[in-house]
């Protein structure tokens, strides 16, 4: 199973612009490299990353990224969101060979 680390600021005030960092363990094998024996290593890439904002029954796409072969292994994706509502952030990485990894974090504001 892949390890992933999501980080949000420890203390968020309503209305803050927060940086979200999402790091995941993945080889991002390009499909162009050969192993020591000359055998082509099959492509194994994360193709898509999404972050949805879940608010009650509503599910809105807040951020997404397409990933390609030139992206390093164990990719770090950082982006900004305006924290203006109580919600849950749902993260998903999906890619080759049926790879799917999900994480979620709730956004809590300072009292």
């Amino acid at each position: 199973m892949a390890a992933a680390i999501i980080s949000l600021p420890a203390a968020i005030r309503r209305g803050d612009i927060v940086t979200v960092r999402a790091l995941i363990q993945h080889p991002m094998e390009t499909g162009y490299r050969r192993d020591a024996g000359g055998i082509l290593l099959p492509r194994d890439l994360i193709r898509r990353f999404t972050c949805h904002v879940i608010e009650g029954d509503a599910r809105m796409l807040a951020f997404s990224a397409e990933l390609h072969a030139a992206i390093a292994a164990n990719p770090l994706i950082a982006f900004s969101l305006k924290a203006d509502r109580d919600c849950v952030l749902e993260f998903q990485w999906s890619g080759d060979n049926g790879f799917v990894h999900r994480e979620s974090r709730s956004v809590r504001f300072l009292a």
């Binding site: 992933a4 292994a73 164990n74 950082a78």
Partner: protein, 277 residues
């Protein structure tokens, strides 16, 4: 720059012919060397961790846990630490808690002599020994993702601690041999570790700065590896770099070299997990 000055005490274990003395003499010299180092672990210390040679971008990556990719191995290691892989249905966490056989600070004292194995072990080997003897599970392959993750998780618990080589007479021969390996010219390029890391440290080699080779941040993430590897893996890279046959993982020679590196870095702060180019 040269780091010979503060290590002169370590030259005494050798007799004229270069043969190491019996352990008793060797250990006395070992102890002298250690005090010499302790006295220098001050602001004027000429020793530099490899971290100090990093570009600002790589250094920033190492110092931010939210971005340091090696933290993924710490996290994976923590999950493995709580698994029960063997016939005994025991996890590492069942035997090692914050109060019972705690592992905090332990990594700063490796390699160390193991009574159970009757030889010096590095941290990977000790973890494998626990798997075999205490979990009745199969040993993990050197540099396998599982073993490196467990080691990174354990070593991370010593972050911020000074490297404190184990002062045990049974380690003195390893130290003496390790120093000899470090100073012996090897490979088609006929270079010793000391030729680069003592005598040319701080200078450029094909776009890289030659560091002083202190084991201050292992296991660490190397951008070139696109993953985390141990000190042994790094040493093997340097050995093949000079076209020498690398010491095998877990071989006596590898542990001796690691023992010497640890005492050469005594008192320096452990930064695991590091990031390197």
């Amino acid at each position: 720059m040269s780091v010979d000055g503060w290590m002169t005490g370590t030259k005494t274990p050798f007799e004229k012919g270069g043969r190491p003395r019996q352990w008793a003499g060797g250990f006395a010299a070992f102890a002298i060397a250690m005090t010499g180092i302790a006295a220098h672990a001050q602001p004027s210390d000429p020793r530099k961790s490899g971290t100090e040679y990093l570009s600002p971008a790589t250094r920033a990556l190492q110092s931010n846990d939210a971005e340091n990719p090696a933290m993924l191995w710490v996290k994976a290691g923590e999950a493995l630490f709580n698994e029960k892989p063997g016939a005994d249905r025991k996890s590492c966490a069942d035997c090692h808690t914050a109060t019972v056989r705690p592992l905090k600070g332990i990594a700063a004292g490796y390699p160390r002599f193991s009574i159970a194995a009757n030889r010096p072990l590095n941290l990977s080997m000790q973890i494998n020994l626990c798997r075999q003897q205490h979990q009745k599970a199969a040993t993990l392959q050197h540099e396998s993702r599982e073993l490196v993750s467990l080691e990174t998780y354990v070593a991370h618990q010593s972050r911020g601690q000074p490297i404190a080589p184990w002062r045990d007479a049974r380690m003195s021969q390893a130290f003496i041999n390790g120093e000899r390996h470090f100073k012996t010219r090897i490979g088609a390029l006929d270079l010793s570790c000391a030729d680069c890391h003592d005598r040319q440290a701080g200078k450029q080699l094909a776009g890289n700065v030659i560091p002083q080779a202190h084991p201050t941040a292992y296991p660490l993430y190397r951008l070139e590896w696109q993953g985390v590897g141990t000190l042994s893996r790094r040493i093997r890279n340097c050995m093949s770099g000079v076209r020498a046959e690398p010491f095998a993982h877990a071989s006596a020679e590898m542990i001796e070299l690691e023992t010497y590196l640890a005492s050469r870095a005594a008192g320096m702060t452990l930064e695991t997990p590091g990031v390197r180019p």
